[in-house]
Symmetry: C2
Subunit: 322 residues, 2 copies
């Protein structure tokens, strides 16, 4: 599912608008409903089940030439990625993924071995994540390979973690390290499902998102949806080895890669400062946890270098423009 950001940096530049303009427009036209506990604008939709649990639903397209370069990815990697990035939206809400339906539009003339390889990649990712492929749809036409993965998950009553909910004084924590995903990690990552469930047990999370558009863009989404400002601490951001490698040829800094590349599929979350301090000292954490900033009242996104004033940070990341 796509995030919503009312202040997409591109929306005023583009005469036709961006995905965010359209989502904002749609969101204004879809009313609330008692059984819809999480509506448009979060990583998943949430529906109340009769037993009080929340049913999570998310849908995600993966299109050759848009979301990956076909020449760089094997069909098996494409299938893996399609499942992994969709399931990541369930992790982002601390849910347990259960089942997947997969729709595929395949280019006319593509060989059956290719389709089977895509499916094999989907199934091995599903197996690794404990979800089942329970149905789907197949079409053939003159278009690039287009996969739409819809994931169903569940979450215990009251345990859903939304993008909204971050409070002034909270700390911002991220799993793993960031940047340079395009060097390969974006094709073989596993979303942080188990880690999200562990985190939910270990602490009271106020707000969470997965880092798909990029740290800056996704921190911007958290700030926006929570109605707060977020200040990221430049020196604390865990820059990945891939970000450093990418910087050697890109002319950009490793930090810039960590802030804006996206496709990290790490978890970014906010929680009470005391809880955060306790959490990042846990020796049994299943993944590296780094405190990278804090929540303040107001709005907007900022970056601060130690000993300096904070400065505005553009929530720049991947945006679909029409």
């Amino acid at each position: 599912m796509e995030p919503v950001n009312d202040r997409s940096p591109n929306s005023e530049d583009s005469p036709r608008g961006t995905e965010f303009d359209l989502i904002r427009w749609i969101r204004s036209r879809v009313g609330a409903s008692a059984n819809v506990t999480v509506g448009i604008g979060d990583d998943c939709a949430g529906l109340r089940l009769p037993d009080g649990q929340t049913l999570l639903v998310t849908t995600d397209m993966l299109i050759a030439g848009i979301h990956y370069r076909p020449e760089d990815a094997s069909p098996r990697q494409v299938g893996h990625k399609a499942i992994a990035r969709a399931v990541s939206d369930i992790a982002a809400m601390a849910g347990q993924p259960i089942a997947v339906v997969a729709a595929m539009a395949a280019p006319r003339g593509s060989p059956s071995e290719f389709h089977r390889e895509v499916f094999t990649g989907m199934q091995s990712a599903a197996d690794a994540l404990g979800v089942r492929i329970v149905g789907g749809d197949i079409s053939v036409g003159d278009l690039p390979l287009t996969l739409t993965i819809t994931v169903i998950g569940t979450c215990a009553p009251g345990a859903v973690v939304c993008r909204s909910g971050a409070q002034p004084g909270d700390r911002v924590v991220v799993t793993g390290s960031l940047g340079g995903s395009l060097l390969g990690r974006h094709l073989d990552f596993l979303p942080r499902v188990k880690e999200a469930l562990w985190l939910r047990e270990a602490a009271s999370l106020h707000s969470m998102i997965d880092v798909s558009d990029g740290l800056a863009a996704d921190a911007g989404h958290l700030a926006e949806e929570s109605g707060v400002a977020i200040e990221l601490w430049e020196d604390a951001i865990p820059v990945s080895e891939d970000a450093k490698r990418a910087a050697q040829s890109s002319g950009r800094s490793p930090l810039d890669h960590a802030l804006h590349d996206g496709e990290d599929y790490e978890l970014l979350f906010a929680l009470n400062a005391a809880d955060a301090a306790q959490l990042i000292q846990r020796s049994d954490a299943p993944v590296a946890l780094t405190c990278i900033g804090e929540v303040a009242s107001g709005s907007g996104l900022y970056l601060r270098k130690r000993g300096e004033e904070r400065r505005p940070l553009e929530p720049r990341g991947w945006v679909h423009e029409f």
Copy 2:
């Protein structure tokens, strides 16, 4: 969701195979699971909810140039059709549709008015069918408009009607009339949601499908999944006025249109002969009900004209070939 038919007439002719070859292959690789009450090969997948209800999930792609001719359909009609045909798969299992997530890939450069019209069509169909659009995904690229609609529904314990379940001696009944949908009905139909719920209350349905690929193809799916033969009665098939109009210029008979056009989105179901006799006499039925054939032991699909021997009927309909 696409049907499964092991004897697709096209599968041997096409060196690259059809959608059905791939679905059969996938189906052989996905194991059973206690919580998956209906797996790959039916109109929806079924998952057991904690309270015993079944959660139904179906996903359906609608692609410009493949599933409709863009020059013949307004964007609003396209949005309507995308929702209506996906929800029809919930009706086919006698479920109650609840929520929709919608993924859209839009052609680069398409104007925002176009996207809004598509959404308006989706929302008015959703409103008419009592379902909510709760989330989605938006991409932009060099491809035709591609919509993937996933519908979530529920069904009371034990009340799901599958494609399997037809028994020798059963009668085959269809709602409404068939054929000629391309003259316009395929763009503005409402799926038989209320009618399916009424039917489920009114009689014990053994087996059901919606007529999307065409009467012959879909009766073939019912026979295949139930492990029985189906004999359709040529003189009883309700041929629509559109089928007669279409026949005036197509060089085909109205019956041929009724058998093979598809996109009727009527309900085709099997039930005990005595129940069928009682059902079709009900004066309070919300839709015309016609008994059009019977189920026999064995396998295959047949057509019989009154006073003649039955003859094999090719389950020919729309098939995606790679």
